[in-house]
Symmetry: C2
Subunit: 143 residues, 2 copies
DNA sequence: TTTAAAATCATACTTTCGGGTGAAGTGGGG
DNA sequence: CCCCACTTCACCCGAAAGTATGATTTTAAA
């Protein structure tokens, strides 16, 4: 950032020096003032674009890296009639946990998780947990 | 895009007219030429930055929308010693197919798929297919 | 307070997954 | 030609996942 500003300042200084030199020695008397102004305008427009790109490039990278903060699709959740508990189970499924592990994490029995997952599969219209995870991500129900 | 160019041209034209008017009437004799050039440079730098931002803004949106065209991480694939067939199986796994379905798609027996998947799990250091899919995505082995 | 939805658990049964082992055919490189 | 990696397949077994059905308890809403 500091480097960019320094480079920019340097570019302006050099250009001004060059232009001033040219101005007094050769061109001012031959070329019309409009062309002279136009040239300066064009050159500094280019410098501006270049500088502007430099400045915004950082932001672009940030957008790419911090992309998709994930917002849950509540509408879809309600539309499919998926309950809180079922959603929790889906999240843990997506993290690759087995039904037994999910049961332990939620302090309920394995059978309960089986029930929840079975209901989940019906609501998501899938047959397997891998498909449920896929579908869940598609519908933005899980990150 | 066309609108941006038009606006930009208009801005340049107006600025040149304004500057020319000022130049002949009031300022040229009072202010030094350096300040005059500097002003033009600054103004058009600003215009350049503004224009540059306008031009790159589109690209930013494109990056966000068309993000991640997926390029396979061949290095990782070789590093882990995952074969072509195993990779195929992993892809179909990620699409939520059962071993039987994968076997049918690849015209091989269920046992073969079991072998491939078992080898995959070892190479990916996971215990379940859901985790294999997760890991595969992390390592950019699958979209 | 009644009622419905959600959450809990169970039992029984089927299917799928995954581990372990062994083996046979194929194709390329030393 | 032989070795090695890859691919293919088989059998067995246990664990995990999924299906079906029914029942009880909580909870939130009407």
């Amino acid at each position: 950032m500091r480097k960019t500003i320094l480079l920019y300042g340097l570019a302006i200084a050099i250009l001004i020096i060059v232009l001033k030199t040219i101005e007094y020695r050769y061109l001012l008397r031959d070329l019309s003032v409009e062309i002279y102004i136009g040239s300066i305008a064009l050159i500094f427009t280019a410098v501006g674009i270049w500088g502007g790109m430099r400045l915004t490039q950082r932001k672009k990278i940030i957008i790419k890296e911090a992309a998709a903060p994930f917002v849950l699709n509540q509408q879809e959740l309600e539309r499919l009639g998926i309950s809180k508990r079922e959603h929790e189970v889906l999240e843990l499924m997506a993290q690759g946990f087995s039904n037994q592990e999910i049961a332990d994490k939620l302090f309920v029995s394995l059978n309960t998780i089986k029930t929840h997952s079975a209901n989940l599969f019906v609501k998501l219209e899938v047959k397997r947990r891998t498909q449920a995870v896929q579908r869940g991500k598609e519908l933005h129900l899980i990150p």
